[in-house]
Amino acid sequence: MIAARPAEGAAGRARTGISLGRRVRHRTAVVLVWLSVAIVLLPLAHMFAMVTSHAVRALSPKLFTTSTAGVAGGLENAIVGTIQLVVLATVAAVTLGVLGGIWVREFASPRAAFPVRLAADVLAGVPSIVIGYFGYVTMVTWLGWGFSLLAGALALAVIMLPYVLRATDLAIGRVSEELRDASTALGATQAATLRRVILRSALSGIVTGALLAVGIALGETAPLLYTAGWSNYWGLLPSFTHNPVGYLTYVVWTFINQPFAEAHALAYAAAFLLMILVLLLNVVVRRVIVRHTEEAR
């Protein structure tokens, strides 16, 4: 019994086999990792809780069935306007951005690709209010479209474009040469390889970039103030020019400065809807992507 004890101790130490110093460092690292996670997640959770609690007052079916009237009413016009603006902007930005990204990565000579990449990166860094003002000068006044859906959507599209283009460019770049070779060796042309293998492999990267861009567009206010204006009305078949459009971020930005509880509630409700929209969009689109890439068509 007594003789067995030291042996047991040795066996125990051999089993864990890790020195005290290493264990302490491991623990510290784990704690730090969780701390960083908390630092990121806590403010997000707090913000979500705060927005939700303030928005509760305004959350009712009425929110979706009536439009704003002054600083009261519902958000119907703003919801429809936001969707119209962002859908139109997304169609434009994704079409141009994906084609541009493919061109830069697959077809452009290095000398032609460099300025395009540089321009995209610079554009991504331009403050959105500058793009809004540029849109105002060109589309709203010079082209004479007035505050309108088209002007607002194109301003958003310009903001989205570099993200989509660079995401496409990089996602295609990450597809291994081996996969490209394998397709080529089966007798595929460059176009067939691109369509059937490369874009398929790059799809989730491209979609991630597009979703990021859509999230940014949903949250923009400044460029829309200059291009879309604001309206208490909406049309299902919108006129693309000459009619201003309402949007949710305007409500957040303007109504919060009003001295009325109802206006505040509407502002928080608008913010709440934007967050839900971004969340849903991410969850749904990712689901679709996973299904699309992993399973047979």
């Binding site: 081996e178 397709s183 060796a185 089966l186 047979a296 068509r297």
Partner: protein, 281 residues
């Protein structure tokens, strides 16, 4: 067919693996030349990669290419189906004939050539799609759309690659879920589905464990009855086990080419002997 000793007297083969078509005894091989290389040079920009390669690759057998790292084995293999075309500054001199046609001539379309000369790579390269779609990739590419036909081609290719029994119930599952060895056999099946005449393999087993390697080697032996096979390998035992002829490359030059037996037992060139006995490389 399992024999201890084949017509050329290669009794060192593992009898469990060997399965060769009948060859007439004491007669030169009846196989025709599938590829003929005549003074073939390959340049990547200013780098002279292959230097005056002259050799004939016979049909319906396994030919091995060996040599130290960087000697140009892959480049030689990829010259046969024009996979080097995308390398910037690629230039060739001399001739590569595939069944009499000049591979680098005007009349040869590389896309068509690659349908007849398939290739399998070092690392398995399943496409991000289902097992079925992987195998059906080539046939679909070349216009086969009828479901029943596709089903038939996919099944027979997977059977030939010895993978059918493993995957027949999971054809809709992503190919990336297979093990490495299974993925490599899937890549072979995918190549077979295009119905090529030649299969080029660039170190196809170097990423696999020994048992997966054995399965691929057995498979190659079986396939050699119907296809011409060229394999690049770093593994000397593998070359000895699977091939009839072996080419030894060194710094872009073909040092020696002949029956595998001779290359390993009584090579003409001193450098070949040094390499196969492990004195360098």
């Amino acid at each position: 067919m399992i024999r201890e000793e084949d017509a050329t007297g290669r009794e060192h083969r593992d009898p469990g693996i060997v399965s060769l078509p009948e060859e007439p005894v004491d007669e030169p091989r009846a196989n025709r030349a599938m590829f003929v290389l005549d003074g073939f040079d390959l340049y990547f920009g200013r780098a002279h990669i292959l230097k005056g390669i002259t050799l004939e690759i016979p049909s319906n057998q396994v030919t091995a290419i060996i040599g130290p790292s960087g000697c140009g084995k892959s480049s030689l293999l990829r010259s046969l189906n024009r996979m080097n075309d995308r390398v910037p500054g690629m230039r060739v001199e001399g001739k590569v004939l595939f069944e009499g046609d000049d591979v680098y001539g005007q009349s040869v379309d590389p896309v068509t050539l690659r349908r007849r000369v398939g290739m399998v790579f070092q690392r398995p390269t399943p496409f991000p799609m289902s097992i079925f779609d992987n195998v059906a990739y080539g046939p679909r590419l070349h216009g086969l759309a009828k479901r029943s036909e596709l089903d038939r081609v996919v099944e027979s290719s997977l059977r030939d690659a010895g993978l059918w029994d493993v995957v027949k119930d999971t054809l809709r599952k992503p190919a990336t879920a297979l093990s490495g060895g299974e993925q490599q056999r899937l890549c072979i099946a995918r190549t077979l589905a295009v119905d090529p005449e030649v299969i080029l393999l660039d170190e196809p087993t170097s990423a696999l464990d020994p048992s997966a390697t054995t399965r691929i080697e057995e498979l190659l032996q079986r396939l050699a009855e119907r296809y011409t096979i060229v394999i690049v390998t770093h593994n000397m035992q593998q070359a000895a086990r699977v091939s009839e002829d072996t080419a030894f490359l060194l710094s872009g030059e073909l040092v020696e080419f002949g029956p595998t037996d001779k290359i390993f037992r009584a090579p003409d060139d001193r450098r070949t002997e040094d390499y196969v006995t492990g004195r360098f490389g």
